[in-house]
Amino acid sequence: MDAVISCNQLTKNYGRKEVLKGIDLQVSPGTIFALLGTNGAGKTSLIRTLLGLIPKTTGEVSVLGSEPYQFGIQLRERIGYVSEEQGLYTWMRVREIINFCKALYPRWDDTLTAQYLERFKLDLHAKIGTLSKGQTVKLALLLALAPKPDLLILDEPMTGLDPVAQHEFLQVILKDLRAEKRTVFFSTHNLADVKLVSEKVAILYDGQIRALGSIDEICQQVVKIQVSATNQSAWESQGGVFTGEADTLLFDATKLTTLSTPPPHQPATLEEAFLFFCSGGLKS
């Protein structure tokens, strides 16, 4: 089956600044795909490129089979998007924005709308400007889900949400979207979310995909070793990354196997792998 999202050596420059440096990525249909990265790694630029909000610089990018910057109305109908800032019209009432969006989507599901309104406890007559952060995110999610999109793109949607709201949000993704086999592409730096819902993860650092695969596959790429304080600089020069714990170092698992006498090691957790890839590990 064709990939829903496909990037091949995708680059994006803002003037002289390179923000995406040759991204290769495939997202299969029905996958919940998490894009992990630190602030400034290029997550938002990648998502904006995938949405056709900004043009790519070089390389190839295809979303639902089309170049995003050339998206027509029909393709936009198949993509739902929730951003960190939501960007809803604060002067509108909940009912107004629902009606506004409903008029634009032929596949709009009224039953689903009613369900989510009930579930999220959203007041139809409330002005969006008066809603709490959590409620605004839920409303944005409702607006993205009600048209039954084939692809849902979420850009750090849970930033600033309290744990209860985060839980509720994840439940929707976990249960409803997974059950309907919809493709979800979301960016985050919250690893707990990723572990809970994602089937596939990409770690983006400095405009490059440092690791790609399932959580297990990514964790297997990094090992945790104990080294003595005297050898620390030697390990660091070979690409090792200190975790902050005494004498504990993260190291490239493949590289470790090439050593004649590999030290005792343990598989890394996702947090540790994330730290490894986002601290300059595996630079080559």
Binding site: L51, I54, Q70, I73, R76, Y81, E85, G87
Partner: protein, 547 residues
Amino acid sequence: MKISKHLLQKELKQNIVIYLFPFLCLGIIVICNKVLNGWLDPKWAQILAGAIPLSLAGAYGLQAFDLEENNQTKDFLLTKPLSISQIIQSKYFSGLLFLLPAVYFWSLTLTPKVVRFPILSDFSSFFFSGLLILTWLVYTTSFTVGLYIKGPLKLLGALLTIPFVASWFGLAWFQAIAWLLINFSAPPQRTEGLLLLILITSILIIFFSNLAHFLNTQRLQTFKIQFTKRTLVDLSLLFILPLFFTIINQASRPAIRPFNSIMTTIFSNENWFLASEGSKQPHGELYLFRNQSGQLGLGKLSQKPQLIYPGIKTKNNTITELHWAPDGKSFTFNENGQVKIYSLRTKKTTTLNNGKMGLWADDSKQLLLIQEVTSQAVKTSAGVIRQQNLALTLINPPYQQIPSPKWQIQSGSLSLGWDALHFELLAIDHSWQLKLLNLSTHQIKELPLSQPATPEQIILTQILPWPQSTDEFQLLIYSFDQATLKSKQHDYNLHLYRYTPPATIKKWAVINDLSYRDFILKNDQEYLAQTSQGIYWHYRLPKGEEK
């Protein structure tokens, strides 16, 4: 071009406060003006009625995308199943939907007189349509600037671009309308008029194709336009064409023009002096004009006539029968049935008496006052003519009283002249004859004027002193061929004769198929010909016409 109804509704709701703001301001001004009993000077009202809509146009255009940018709703909108052109169109047209009525209501409330359909013969009637066009241009320009430039640069860009573009296009339109007015009704300028039409059409096509191009293009992403060669070529054309109009308009100027400067046109209360009939000063460069409002103006060639006599009544004032004294220092005219003398030196008017006209003797002092005693319509072979019983009175300076002698004559004359040297009254009537009434002997002499081969109906005659001559007269007969009347409703023939007293008449020239409204003799070769009110062109006798 398909505008989403929901999007348009959203735009209107989103911007309702700023859209209603000008109406609110207008309401406050009207109430203040009423409470403070005419606090707003009419001049300021006119300035406000023009300046506020133009400022609004700039502001509306520039801020069209600001609310989306500032509230970070841009991405929400752009990721919805809407084309970029739909988004831009809805923003563009929602602004226009409020802006144009705002212009209308501001003008209607503050300067109701200017709100009217443009009439080709009246330049000032173009003010409102010009304002509408200029507002639209400023709005479109600022809207485009708003697309191109972001952030603090926007204000700077707007400050530099909008006044420049507005004045540039304003100038273009001013020049275009002036051209249209001048050329449309001027037979010798038909080719240029056609050229003008082609140019205006090209401007409109270029402008609208650009508009359609930028509203529909798929290259417009995230509210930014990509410059292409085509855009640059079109923009260059748009900027070069006004220059073309300006140059061509300056190069091809009429003899007498009704126009003020642009600034005077927009911001002054000065009334237009649209000359409708004129007469040249003997031995001088001045031209005396009357207008339809019963005012007198003096002007030199290529100038707008300056008002010298405002008339005694503001409404329905009638001034006719302009007759220069041979020395060119004063003239007589008839104002509402009274014969008056205007002196250029004192700039004062002296009322002589009730009468029809005052004809000067060659000493520029003695006058022959002609009064109509009775008048009746009489049916003759030439049609219905007006038979007049005229009283003639010689008046000497200082014109305070009417001395004797008086004469009474029966005349069906269309025009009169006075040959003071031979003491004869000259008259031309419908019968193609010059009648000479000797005021001493009371004898009437009839001299035939050579007629065209096919009979022609006389519609108007003039007896004027021959240019640069004190004892000869020019006789002008305007006539039309009855057989071709239907096919040439507006055209007539002009027969010119030279009368040398006491009895020599030579046919001097015939000009066929004229459509001018007034003919002023400049010299014996050149004329000023009026094509529409206020606009006179130089006119030389066509070759072969002179005899």
